[in-house]
Amino acid sequence: PSLPTLCNHLSPPSHPSLSPSPPLPPESKPMSAFHFLRALSQINKSTPKSSLLLRSRRIRQAAYVSMACRAGRSRLWSRALLRRLQRRSRLRYLISQRTRAGIAPKRLKVVRPRSGEPSRAEALRRLVPGGPGMDYCSLLDETAHYIQCLSSQVQLMQKVVGSISCETPQP
């Protein structure tokens, strides 16, 4: 299924179609909220009659995309997450300007227990995007950043829900 909303949302920040504001630091609240909100409004406009499940799935996907875009390409987990979402939405040609050619089809990374690590590292590797490819130190570092970004995204979504709920008078 084509995802035009996701397609629009995935345009890189330097795209000329965005508002001509000066480049803000990636952690600034307004810009990060803007990406997510724009995706939300696009999803809302384009699929008014779709099932709830489909729309909630698209919203969740938009949330992960905006979170990963905000983190930038300097983080292993954000790169891995964007790759995974790319594969899922089959829009490789949009984002893959900088990625190398030859994406292996459906290669599942087997998470093997490595020597010299606590047993829980395996479970953590499965949870963090890109986990199987990291050594233990990078895994801990990436996990810390991933948790920070996840919780800020959750807070953003809670705020959006809160403001929508306040806006509509509850019957």
């Binding site: 909220a33 909100l37 729309r55 949330a63 590292a121 953590l124 996840l150 705020k159 509509t168």
Partner: protein, 92 residues
Amino acid sequence: MSSRRSRSRRPSSSRITDDQIIDLVSKLQALLPEARRRSTDRGSAAKVLQDTCNYIRSLHQEMDGLSERLAELLATTDTTSDQAAIIRSLLM
């Protein structure tokens, strides 16, 4: 993927890495929601990893729940006025 076990044969580098690991683990511990209660407990890296896994899972679940809630809310509300209101409230 690479099965080089050279790390175990060089004890000097593993000593340095151990300190790094302890630092990273304590940094992770500080991020967890129960950080204040466990401020004295530094030893159990396994516990920190366990708590981290649980926390990440709960965050994922929260995002799923919030996405569903957003889908419901956006379906039932008027679009144009809401968007302006939300953007205003978030940017101020």
